[in-house]
């Protein structure tokens, strides 16, 4: 079975948990921007935990399914119509052979995940099915979807949840996108970075007080934060050192850049902060024009929140598996 790409959408790429162990060769992890949403999408269709899903940015693709397929859409709430019928988000759906799935704009959030039962059957590159758009590494030679692409789907046991011959179907229940998709816009936890002390006093205050706007120049490498410019008390001569997803860098413009999934492995700008890992998926769902503010967090608190989040996610994944895949 395969999926044909009729229209690619704004930016749609195959992603999994990312490529590990190649940072010393200059190759970063890439991978999904919103990990819980991706894991829940795979769980909803009964996939192995690490199957690649399609990460869709802001406006979705149109896809043609050659055979019966079972899919789930999580993350940002996207308009989805299959053979003219609206699909509910955050649940398991059945698409009969020949279905054209038209994904439109995103009503909430910035990134949606489309998982298909059986997973996308593409060869891993250096151990991962993630697309590194910057390094051109991964499925489809490391590029985003294009019209005319055909992507194979793996096989998986038949799905007992749906009855064949009944057209497009969806489960009667779905997951609550909350707390995974944050509508309220709570402040983002930020650890002080090594060069925070090098900011002038007003900028040190401003970082945790002002509201930044996510710039339209943002991408999978980083979100540019437009706001009142931040300044160093005096210039710094820096030697390039490691950067990570979540690193808040300050280039000479004074507008910080929050590095995301395709963060370069090294960089030479001052590191003024580091986003709490638990808030990375929330930030990935902020779209250009949205505002963001930071609140200082300690490492202990960041770890505590991460462990709590991981426990909650693990329990939810178990419950989904129990409910959908009876022994």
């Amino acid at each position: 079975m395969s999926i044909e790409v009729i229209k690619p959408g704004l930016l749609s790429s195959l992603q999994d948990a990312g490529r590990r162990g190649y940072a010393s060769l200059g190759l970063g992890r890439a991978g999904v921007m919103d990990e819980p949403a991706w894991r829940l999408a795979n769980a909803l269709v009964g996939n192995h935990a690490d199957e690649a899903a399609l990460e869709i940015t802001l406006a979705g693709p149109t896809l043609q399914f050659t055979r019966d397929a079972v899919i789930a859409l999580t993350g940002g709430i996207i308009e989805a119509r299959a053979n003219g019928q609206t699909l509910p988000p955050w649940t398991r759906c059945f698409l009969p052979a020949g279905t054209q799935l038209r994904l439109g704009g995103m009503r909430h959030g910035c990134r949606s995940y489309l998982a298909v039962r059986g997973g996308f059957d593409v060869e891993p590159v250096l151990g991962s099915r993630s697309t590194d758009l910057h390094a051109h590494v991964g499925p489809l030679d490391g590029r985003a979807l294009q019209a005319g692409d055909t992507i194979a789907v793996g096989t998986r046991a038949p799905d007992d949840c749906f009855r064949a011959g009944h057209g497009v179907q969806a489960l009667r229940w779905g997951l609550d996108p909350q707390p995974w998709l944050d509508y309220a816009g709570a402040p983002f936890g930020l650890l002080r970075g090594h060069h925070y002390d090098a900011l002038d006093e007003a900028s040190q205050r401003s970082l945790f007080v002002q509201r930044f706007t996510v710039s339209k120049d943002s991408n999978r490498t980083g979100s540019r934060m437009d706001g009142q410019a931040l300044q160093l008390a005096r210039p710094l001569e820096l030697v390039s050192e490691a950067t990570l997803p979540g690193t808040l860098q300050l280039p000479p413009s004074g507008q910080p850049i929050l590095l995301l999934a395709e963060a370069p492995v090294t960089g030479g700008y001052p590191r003024i902060g580091q986003l709490a890992t638990v808030d990375l998926p929330r930030l990935a769902q902020r779209r250009p024009g949205d505002t963001v503010c930071f609140r200082e967090i300690t490492m202990d608190e960041a770890l505590q929140r991460l462990r709590t989040r991981n426990d909650t996610l693990r329990h939810l994944l178990q419950r989904i598996a129990q409910r959908l895949e009876p022994a």
Binding site: A23, S24, L25, V125, A135, G246, V265, T277, L303, R307
Partner: protein, 236 residues
């Protein structure tokens, strides 16, 4: 490196990453300590990913695997890193020496020569005369930051970076020299080009160079460049 766990310059970056700091300069001796530490930690703590830079070493780990009794990540990992740094290397790995052929006809060769008050031939002689060490790989997959440039060749970056520097370009940026593995935007001064493939996904090891390798450049002419470019690009 000696020291108790408390005097390690370990900077927490994120829940799953620390930076081990050795200095704040681009310095051969400091970089050698970075690579020695990477080898020791890499062999003693295989679950900790080591990413060497000029003067610091990134350590990436699973924070939940290193929880202390108080459920934070800290003391136990710190002790393990200190112990790894005091251990004896399992085996002395001889650094590899890689010879890279370069056709010295870069667009900025004459500008580099003029700024250094040297002839183009003298620039080539000095660039091929030095032995370099791969201080780190970064910027793009397989891009080597090389230590060991003759100080006379240090040249400021171009005021207007190029939108696209051709793959294989050998370049100088300040006191650094490096090679663009693929066509990339860049501001370093281009002095030549190598037919060597620096990053090749079809190779058993995708990056031709590894951190810590020694590199020498060998001047070749256009014909030799063309001949090597049709092979794997490395002089044997």
């Amino acid at each position: 490196m000696t020291g108790t766990p408390t005097d390690l310059l370990l900077e927490p970056l994120a829940e799953d990453a620390w930076l081990l700091r050795f200095g704040n300069s681009i310095d051969t001796a400091v970089n050698a300590r970075v690579h020695a530490a990477a080898a020791l930690i890499g062999s003693q703590l295989p679950d900790v990913e080591c990413v060497p830079a000029y003067a610091s070493l990134l350590l990436r780990f699973d924070p939940t695997a290193w929880l202390d009794d108080d459920a934070t990540t800290g003391h136990r990992l710190r002790e393990a890193i200190a112990a790894a740094l005091k251990s004896t290397p399992a085996s002395t790995i001889m650094p590899r020496e890689v010879i890279l052929p370069v056709c010295y006809d870069g667009a900025d060769l004459h500008e580099v020569a003029a700024l250094a008050h040297l002839s183009a031939d003298e620039v080539v002689a000095r660039h091929t005369g030095a032995s370099y060490r791969v201080a780190m790989l970064g910027f793009a997959p397989g891009f080597p930051y090389l230590l060991g440039l003759d100080a006379a060749l240090a040249t400021p970056r171009r005021s207007q970076p190029r939108m696209s520097v051709p793959a294989g370009s050998v370049a100088i940026g300040g006191l650094q020299t490096g090679i663009y593995p693929q066509a990339l935007p860049g501001g370093w001064q281009l002095i030549g080009r190598t037919p060597a493939r620096l990053f090749d996904l079809s190779a058993a090891s995708p990056s031709l160079l590894q951190p810590g390798d020694h590199v020498r450049f060998q001047a070749i002419d256009e014909r030799a460049y063309q001949r090597l470019a049709s092979g794997n690009g490395v002089a044997s």
